[in-house]
Amino acid sequence: MTSGQIEVPSKGGDGESALSCQELKKSFQGVAAVTGATFDVPKGMITALIGPNGAGKTTVVNILSGMMKSDSGAMQIGKVDVTNWESYKIARLGLMRTFQLSRELGGLTVLENLLVAPKHQAGESLLNIFFRPGRAKREELENTKRALEILRTYGLFDLRDNRASELSGGQKKLLEIARAVMAQPQVLLLDEPMAGVNPALIERIGGYILDLKNQGVTVLMVEHNLNVVEKICDHVIVLAEGRTLATGRLSDLRANPEVVQAYLGEVINASTTR
């Protein structure tokens, strides 16, 4: 725990963490981006990672997903120490992510973006392609049916044969979440899923995230929209200047002067006086 943290339980109902990190630090050419991120993400819950711009939220997400190596510190998925593992190994443990700026696989169709997601596909082996084509074909058929169902759920079914690069910004956000869902994640990191998205789509994405929670997926989302955080997040982590400032429920954090000073400020006042 870093100084200034509110003493509230940081773990889920059964006290188990799906993801945790201790004293993560990361600098870029002498500029400290993360200076001591320490928190637990409760299993089966939706946790928000909030903080002012430049607090190090995306850097932390990049480190947690293995896309960036930390200078020091440790992290675990469940009970497995995955400190500085490569991202594909972390993904194989069931941690999937989306990106702040959508990174769709633009040359692939919307459907193919989902089909690429399942791990260890039989058809990804040269031996299976030429000597066990039936097995690869059966699995591909099952994956395609599941992908079409997911696309239907996410309202992208009619766009299935479009190249992903042709989608709008909001559709790309949906596609990224759908692609992560296709990989059947245990833990899902969402980096600003509502950014640049119209209010109607915010409603839908929030609904999808709640659905994922109901299916047992643990969600950690970087989010600036406090209405969304208040409505769907069970737990909040506040980062400021690269370190964990506080953790707890948003309603509790509103009373924390450090949090208010560092991030919430007039937003809280404005929304509570309405």
Binding site: P52, S65, G66, M67, S87, Y88, A91, M96, F99, R103, L105, G106, G107, L108, T109, E112, L115, V116, K119, Q121, G123, E124, I129, A136, E140, T144, K145, L148, R152, G155, D158, R160, D161, R179, A183, P199, A200, I202, E203, R204, G206, G207, Y208, I209, L210, D211, H224, N225, L226, N227, V228, E230, I232, Y263, G265, E266, V267, A270, S271, R274
Partner: protein
């Protein structure tokens, strides 16, 4: 056989051979995004190994070379492909794991130059700058072929080999493996975040592409009966790049079209045209310039090539019983969180 048909079948041979070479480079660059500027080096190794393994021992031949096992066709050809793949493993282990596309390209072109200099100067390997010659014509003894009849025969053999290799490549590119290659091409960071071991897949792509390079090179050796360092100047790699860029990156049919337009019509056809009086060799210089101009024009006006990469549509059989989005709008979940906009933090931490 008349000279005309001799030329035609020579062009047919190069059409199919460069189709094979283009398929190999396409899976590396067009499908996986590996900018392999050393490609011609793998072609050359395939040619040398095919030739040296099919020739008898070098003693008394007036040449110096390794192997000299007298391996019959097509096993000598396969050895050429396997040797190029083996070299790809070494190159991939050195360069693919840590280098991004642009740095990788520089390292690979350097590798190509080093390999070229070693082959050119270390005579005991493949007879130095003179290269290998008098390589036996494959199957000529069995089918009692003359020098004239060998050309159409081997052009047809090359066509059959190209057909088999096209079938195999189509299986790969239309499989989940091909899709993963394309995912890595589009964004290897995302592919890794989806659990794909990017290095392993790039290595696989290098292996497959280099095998095709080795086979293509081996066929050139078997067709011409000789091969030396003037046949594979490092810049030759860019001719194969021109084939796939003009034809259509990521499309096997486009590669055949590119091979026809660039290699057959622009590179080899002018070699059979009569010289311009007073300007010997001018036509061949011009055709190289034309390839360069064509490449620039294509990249500027039609970067997707003559036959673009096709969109892989969902099989209709899988769509039966599934409704469109419009019929399902009422199923979309909602969380009812959007208020009047208060609480949305903008730049600088203000609502």
């Amino acid at each position: 056989m008349s000279a005309f048909w001799y030329y035609v079948f020579t062009l047919v041979f190069f059409l199919f051979d460069y189709f094979i070479l283009a398929m190999g480079l396409n899976i590396q660059y067009g499908e996986t995004g590996i900018l392999n500027f050393a490609y011609i080096g793998f072609v050359a190794l395939g040619a040398y190994v095919t030739g040296a393994s099919s020739m008898p021992s070098s003693a008394g031949t007036g040449q110096q070379y390794i192997m000299g096992w007298g391996v019959p066709f097509p096993f000598s050809l396969l050895l050429g492909g396997v040797a190029a793949s083996a070299l790809a493993v070494i190159v991939a282990l050195i360069s693919l794991r840590r280098l991004r596309t642009d740095y990788l390209a520089v390292v690979l072109i350097s590798f190509s130059l080093v390999f070229y200099d070693i082959t050119n100067n270390y005579v005991p390997l493949f007879n130095g700058a003179d290269g290998l010659y008098n390589v036996p014509e494959p199957l000529a003894g069995i089918f009692k072929l003359t020098t004239n009849s060998f050309v159409p025969f081997f052009a047809v053999v090359t066509g059959l080999i190209a057909l088999v290799m096209w079938w195999a490549m189509s299986r790969i590119t239309s499989s989940p493996l091909g899709r993963t290659f394309r995912a890595i091409r589009d964004d290897d960071g995302v592919a890794a975040a989806l659990g794909k071991g990017v290095f392993r897949y790039k290595l696989t792509s290098m292996l497959i592409g280099s095998f095709y390079a080795g086979i293509g090179g081996g066929l050139i050796m078997q067709f011409g009966g000789s091969f030396n360092t003037t046949s594979w100047l490092p810049a030759e790699t860019f001719v194969v790049f021109a084939v796939i860029i003009v034809g259509g990156v990521g499309n096997n049919i486009g590669l055949l079209v590119g091979s026809l337009l660039v290699e057959t019509l622009l590179i080899h056809l002018p070699a059979f045209l009569p010289e311009i009086p007073g300007h010997p060799g001018l036509i061949q210089y011009i055709d190289t310039m034309v390839v360069g101009v064509l490449l620039m024009v294509m990249l500027w006006f039609r970067p997707q090539g003559v036959v673009p990469e096709r969109v892989r549509k969902t099989p209709m059989s899988l769509l039966q019983g599934l409704k469109s989005d419009r019929a399902l709008n009422t199923d979309v979940p909602a969380m009812s969180v959007v208020g009047d906009g208060a609480g949305v933090i903008e730049e600088g931490g203000r609502p």
